[in-house]
Symmetry: C2
Subunit: 463 residues, 2 copies
């Protein structure tokens, strides 16, 4: 259909004022007097709404006046500038056709609904201001990430979601199966016979694409993944979902310093892109969701990120141990309270903490010469703490094998990963960014359920 | 590390010729005489390789000459133009450092390997010419799709992968579970008690994001999904994978004509983007994989797609029934042989077949006034047949309910979907594109296993 979007009217108003246009959208409100009325229309293309004025010269004046919220209509009329009014312009309708009525029990009435309630109608909540803003920002943020990496010639890799390796922490994974749930076939030893399952082995949903991504980095040099990831963790918090999206870049011929430079550029690029391309949405968040949001994001854009080693960070934090619920000491994992104290109080800007004790980091991270710490980094930002984490990877076959031995990892499970160290190994590094964490950071939304279109959490898999 | 990529050298050679540069990459071959040698280097940034000349003035001349294929090195030297030679330039090395050696049993020796063999080493095959080309095209194609939709203000929606609705054809779905595979808990009636499963219900991996996408189209007007999709079909063919990616745009205030216009523009946009941004790769496919490829793709770019109804198409095909293994008659599903005959022999260009019998299409497609056909379309292209399929959706609540009744679908399973027709329904349409199908079409690769980084098929879930 040949409709003008509300976005193009707002962005290009000179072109349309005085012209007859046709728009289509959903009714946010209707108010009428005896001879004329107003419809506030949203068409989903833009955060702002368009005011429609109609009069009893329309044959269906009564029909329009009786429309329920949520009805969809097609409006033909002239776009007229309205200087001095709240709206910069309005449409004086010459024809309004009802495309689809809305039943009177429409769940989104013109009042404030709680986020909890809106979660129960995830198919309708994108029609509200808050979720129009959230999901448009989510879309723009995804694109900004692709654009950032493509401009730098990174190759986008779709790493697999169904994985046959159970070496990534099987306790937290979802099993993927076509076996009969009640009467699974058993083998000679009375164990479930996964040879009869779809893939001929036990399979799970992936928790990270990194190891596969490394294989592609050793071929394409710079790559990134951007896809869904899963955790079967039984934790019902505002920050955990069973299904979420992750971005995992990986660079060959790169060390931890390169990794941090990439992370810092990416974060700034994405913030700038979203602020430039969704100013109305960002103002909405700043006004109604999180008052300090724009100032905080500008702070990130304007600062050079600080760098501190874990060991130095622990020294700094120990001096303030009386502030913390969990006391800090060398060797412990940093909690959010510590991370936020570092970035908000000590450095007053984003900070990379580097060189963590090997015991609290993954087996594949590159051992430092001290043999106690590894070349890992976490990027901490004001407001939330850790937003990205990464490392240089252990590229030396013998050292990797030694570390796997220490941790009692089975080298047969990592054959392909070890091959990458055997055939043309190169220093390489990467990081992971939880996409939803990023959206929460950009919008100020505080529950992960409110930044995922149809969230999946413990005991919740609706629609 | 401060390295110059081979891509920037080729794309911007004036800038680098005569300069000292440092490059890093993997050895494709080494040949040496007594006092000098040549290394062919690939750094993954570009399809072409860079020739390195080195001499015995290097302290490690012997070490370099003994390098195995696949070793990674860092080379410092001057980039020198070589007019009249096969390569436009070469690097005269003043220093070569070995970053990582390659064991002599490196599986990718300098000879032609079969695609079947390469499938057994999916972590190494991206280092070959063929897979460098395939996976770079895959990456560019993904970006072209995002760019196409973003330039048109479509909102990118991440529809869920784990789904609680078993109404999409449960027989072909993977179950997602954390229940004990051997001793699943049972309810009072002796059935598996999914209330104790992670989500409190039986859950599966999605086969399509369309229904969820429609909910977002009724809020944002124009949306698209681009994410993984799953089929537990036990079919071991060159065209089926258990895990693949799909693109599903959905537009509100749009009919079947709008849908076809979008599909045609998208297909042309993506072809043009990939041909412009991967000319070396496309030439490679055209020379070594599929001789008619570029001509065929140019044919698509230059043609206005034809349109024919299913009924007309059947009439045209029936006249040629002696050509076909499966004879055509009204009511039957078109086979690939029929589709190809239509687009290659009858129309000699891409063609949209529209208005299929309702019996062979999904319940949600909009019924035509004849009450026999639905507003569906398949887009057929020379070389493969169907590449995209879509429809206008039934937006009338009563007609949708009537159709669901005919098909004995349980309306309780579709509550949210029916709500979209109850509250501000609007005509809307969309289509689906299998991403791997698109990559096969763009590259001429004939097995889906060769366009997916780590393919998952029946009895195959390696790495």
């Amino acid at each position: 259909m040949d409709l003008i979007t509300i976005k193009s009217i707002f962005r290009d108003k000179e072109k349309y004022i005085g012209k007859e246009i046709t728009v289509g959208g959903w009714v946010r409100s209707v108010r009428d007097s005896k001879t004329f009325g107003f419809v506030v229309l949203n068409d989903g293309s833009f955060f702002e709404t368009l005011q429609i004025v109609y009069s009893d010269s329309l044959g269906n004046f009564q029909e329009i006046s009786r429309l329920n919220i949520g009805a969809s209509i097609l409006v033909r009329g002239q776009l007229v500038g309205t200087p001095g009014m709240k709206q910069p312009f309005e449409v004086q309708a010459v024809q309004i056709d009802v495309e689809g009525e809305s039943a009177p029990d429409y769940p989104l009435q013109k009042k404030r609904h709680t986020l909890e309630y809106l979660r129960t109608i995830s198919h309708l909540r994108p029609r509200t201001n808050t979720f129009q803003a959230v999901f448009r920002v989510r879309s723009l943020c995804a694109y900004a990430i692709h654009k950032f990496f493509m401009e730098r010639d990174f190759v986008y890799v779709h790493t697999p979601l169904i994985t046959g390796s159970d070496c990534e922490g099987a306790g937290e994974m979802f099993r993927v199966t076509t076996l009969d749930a009640k009467n699974a076939p058993l083998d000679e030893d009375g164990r479930v016979d996964y040879r009869q399952d779809f893939f001929g082995k036990e399979t799970n949903l992936t928790v990270s694409g990194q190891l596969n991504g490394e294989a592609f980095a050793m071929a394409f040099r710079n790559i990134y993944t951007f896809g869904p990831t899963f955790r079967a963790e039984n934790s019902n918090t505002t920050r955990h979902a069973a299904e979420f999206w992750m971005i995992e870049p990986e660079m060959a011929f790169a060390d931890l310093k390169d990794d941090m430079m990439l992370a810092e550029s990416m974060l700034k690029y994405v913030i700038r892109y979203v602020m430039e391309n969704a100013p109305e949405e960002m103002n909405f968040f700043n006004s109604f969701v999180d008052k300090g949001l724009i100032e905080r994001l500008n702070g990130v854009l304007e600062s050079d990120f600080a760098h501190v080693t874990y060991t130095q960070a622990v020294e700094l934090l120990e001096k303030n141990n009386d502030m913390f619920t969990y006391k800090v000491c060398w060797g412990c994992d940093l909690q959010t309270e510590h991370e936020r104290y570092l970035t908000e109080n000590i450095f007053k800007r984003p900070v990379f903490v580097t060189d963590y004790p090997k015991e609290i980091k993954a087996f594949y991270m590159k051992m430092n010469p001290d043999n106690k710490t590894v070349a890992a980094m976490d990027c901490l930002v004001p407001g939330i703490g850790e937003i990205m984490g990464g490392s240089q990877r252990e590229d030396n076959l013998d050292r990797l094998l030694a570390r796997m031995e220490e941790l009692k990892l089975n080298r047969e499970d990592y054959g392909f990963y070890l091959d990458l160290r055997k055939y043309g190994s190169a220093r390489h590094a990467g990081f992971g960014l939880g996409f939803e964490r990023m959206i929460m950071y950009l919008t100020g939304m505080s529950n992960i359920r409110d930044v995922i279109p149809f969230p999946r959490t413990v005991n919740n898999c609706e629609l």
